[in-house]
């Protein structure tokens, strides 16, 4: 019973919320509203997918919000060379942060929470230094095109499928889960544990940078001081609510997407029924606790 609840609880909750809104919320089932909900959750989904991979290796990545800020800061610097070089540089910046995170975890043997905490603090600082602490308007039409709802939603959907395939159909995916399940055993079995860890943190950095680029295009401005703040919390929440245990060895891709959707719908429901943000936060806290309480039975 507990196992079923952990595995399918998030889908049931999403279905219940959808049903509730369809009946009690005016104009909920309109295309415009549904599109807004999906666009708003897309960056969270991207970051949460990377976070799910890292959590699958029994790690955590607190630096994702700062990586988004760094990507946002880097993009306008290289727009002169065209939109794709600029996006590539932003992704490279994210991958670099991921590489540093991964090296500290895999080679030095630091606890993920400290290693990525250092980059949470330093990353946003670097972003602000790069951007000179200023907000920059984005006028490049090609970049702004990346912020259109259809593009943002499609990107998130494609990436979710790619991550799922990578996890379930490639050697790397199986190795990742093995490392998270029992690192010592994976090591003894001859898996390249260090390389797997580094690749995972780099992937997480890449996805966070992509989220930063898309969010910047949507905002039509590069705002490294505020973009992605507390994103690590939203991403971890989506992953945990989606049924991925923090103890590693399992990753639920679809669950993570559903977790992000659940938190988005919850917030939208509370807002549309004129409940204040404070209530939304307290409800969110309660849901996180319920989700980990349900997950507890299996992980012990």
């Amino acid at each position: 019973m507990a196992e079923k609840l952990q595995r399918y609880g998030v889908y049931a909750a999403v279905a219940a919320l959808l049903l509730f809104n369809a009946i009690f919320t005016d104009n909920f089932l309109q295309v415009a509203n549904l599109r807004t909900q999906l666009v708003q959750m897309a960056p969270v989904v991207l970051v949460a997918l990377g976070m799910a991979l890292v959590i699958g290796t029994e790690g955590i990545d607190l630096s994702v919000g700062s990586v988004m800020a760094l990507a946002a800061a880097v993009v306008p610097l290289y727009l002169g060379f065209g939109v794709w070089p600029a996006v590539a540089m932003a992704l490279a910046a994210g991958a670099t942060i991921g590489l540093v995170n991964g090296s500290m975890v895999a080679l030095v043997g630091l606890q993920p929470i400290v290693a990525t905490l250092a980059l949470l603090v330093a990353g946003r600082g670097i972003a602000l230094v790069v951007a000179d602490g200023r907000l920059k308007q984005i006028k490049n039409q090609e970049l702004l095109a990346l912020g259109q709802p259809a593009v943002v939603i499609a990107t998130a959907a494609v990436i979710a499928v790619v991550v799922a395939v990578m996890l379930h159909r490639t050697t790397y995916g199986r190795q990742l889960v093995a490392v998270g399940g029992n690192r010592a055993a994976a090591n003894l079995a001859g898996l390249p544990v260090r390389r797997i860890l580094i690749v995972t943190y780099v992937s997480c950095g890449l996805l966070a940078a992509l989220a930063g680029v898309l969010a910047t295009a949507r905002l039509t401005a590069s705002d490294p001081s505020s973009i992605g703040t507390l994103m690590e919390l939203s991403a971890i929440t989506a992953v945990v609510v989606g049924g991925t245990p923090l103890t590693g060895g399992q990753v639920r891709v679809l669950g993570t997407v559903a977790g992000a959707l659940l938190m988005q719908l919850l917030r939208a429901t509370l807002i549309k029924h004129n409940l204040p943000d404070s209530t939304a936060q307290m409800v969110q806290a309660a849901i996180i606790l319920v989700a980990v309480y349900i997950a507890r039975g299996r992980t012990r």
Binding site: V108, L117, A118, V121, G125, L128, G133, A286, L289, V292
Partner: protein
């Protein structure tokens, strides 16, 4: 040349242990000396007392965090609890000084207690429980301040502000309180049953339980203490500012964790000192001060330096503790 291998490894182990325990203090001393030589205005009493008062709130929070981390946990909620404590204190100060102290401590202590019960009794992960209470406490704060729109002021004639603004020998009261608490916490940690229990729990929870340490009760106590201290720091800050500022405390948990880790406390639990934490907090304070002295460097450089410091310290620590463990 024949130097016994044991002697060499023994000496290396000794050095490694010393650096790990007192590294933060050495770096602090070095930074202070360098800063005094480079910046004329650094080595003045006014500047030093400024650093002291600004650091005193973080010291109080970091003491609680030290206890939590030594017992093998983490408390991410302290930033929100700090802000909540300040708002409650400012709100309650209309009824007098005593309520302004008791109300925030009671609420923040209750949040810590809730954290502790969920972690110790229900065995939920500390990281995620305190993450939830980070959100919950911030939500509570918003709900009592009309979604952050109203800032409660401490009545002008209230004696409550004196607690935050009063000075003795040119130093603010919060500085003395923070020092007294640090001394008390050091004593509790090293010399009391409670202190020894949390070292044992952090070292090995199962072994501690088998030795008869009441693990759950000690953990609940630790998280309650952390909540209380964060609330107290928020209260003092509200007294100093004369108002309950709603946007404070975001990211304070990270500063506290950074200070504790820089101070030589191991994040895996089982080892750590209050004096190290004190050095860690002061080091962060000095870095911030130096960056302010340079003037045209923004606060973004402070983030870069603090983050880099943290990374370097933990990398060095990991190597040192590995050296110790090998022998």
């Amino acid at each position: 040349m024949t130097v016994p291998a044991d002697a060499v490894s023994g000496r290396r182990e000794l050095v490694a242990g010393f650096v790990q325990r007192h590294g933060a203090l050495a770096v602090l001393a070095l930074s202070v000396v360098t800063a005094s030589l480079v910046f004329e205005s650094f080595a003045s009493f006014d500047n030093a007392s400024g650093i002291a008062i600004q650091s005193s709130f973080l010291v109080i929070v970091a003491i609680g965090m030290t206890f939590v981390i030594i017992c093998g946990g983490i408390d991410l909620s302290v930033g929100s609890v700090f802000a909540l404590g300040g708002v409650l204190a400012a709100y309650a100060s209309r009824w007098g000084t005593l309520p302004a102290l008791v109300v925030p401590l009671a609420v923040c202590g209750a949040i810590g207690l809730l954290n502790g019960v969920l972690i110790a009794r229900l065995r939920l992960a500390p990281f995620i429980v305190t993450l939830a209470s980070l959100l919950g406490a911030r939500g509570l704060l918003l709900s009592i301040t009309d979604e952050g729109a109203s800032t409660y002021l401490v009545p002008r004639e209230s004696s409550f502000v004196e607690i935050g603004r009063g000075t003795l020998w040119g130093l603010g009261y919060p500085v003395f309180l923070a020092l007294a608490l640090a001394a008390l916490a050091g004593l509790v940690l090293q010399r009391s049953r409670f202190g020894q229990s949390i070292f044992a729990i952090g070292g090995s929870q199962d072994a501690a339980a088998m030795m008869g340490v009441p693990v759950a009760r000690m953990k609940v106590l630790t998280y309650t203490l952390s909540g209380l201290l964060a609330g107290l720091a928020g209260t003092l800050n509200a007294a100093r500012l004369g108002s309950g500022v709603t946007i404070l405390g975001v990211g304070l948990e990270l500063d506290a964790i950074a200070a504790v880790v820089i101070g030589g406390t191991l994040l895996i639990g089982g080892a750590g000192t209050i004096s190290g934490t004190l050095s860690g907090v002061l080091l962060l304070g000095v870095i911030q001060n130096v960056i302010n002295q340079i003037g045209n460097l923004g606060s973004s450089y402070q983030l870069v330096t603090s983050g880099a410091f943290l990374a370097v310290v933990v990398v060095v620590q990991t190597y040192l503790s590995r050296t110790q463990r090998l022998h």
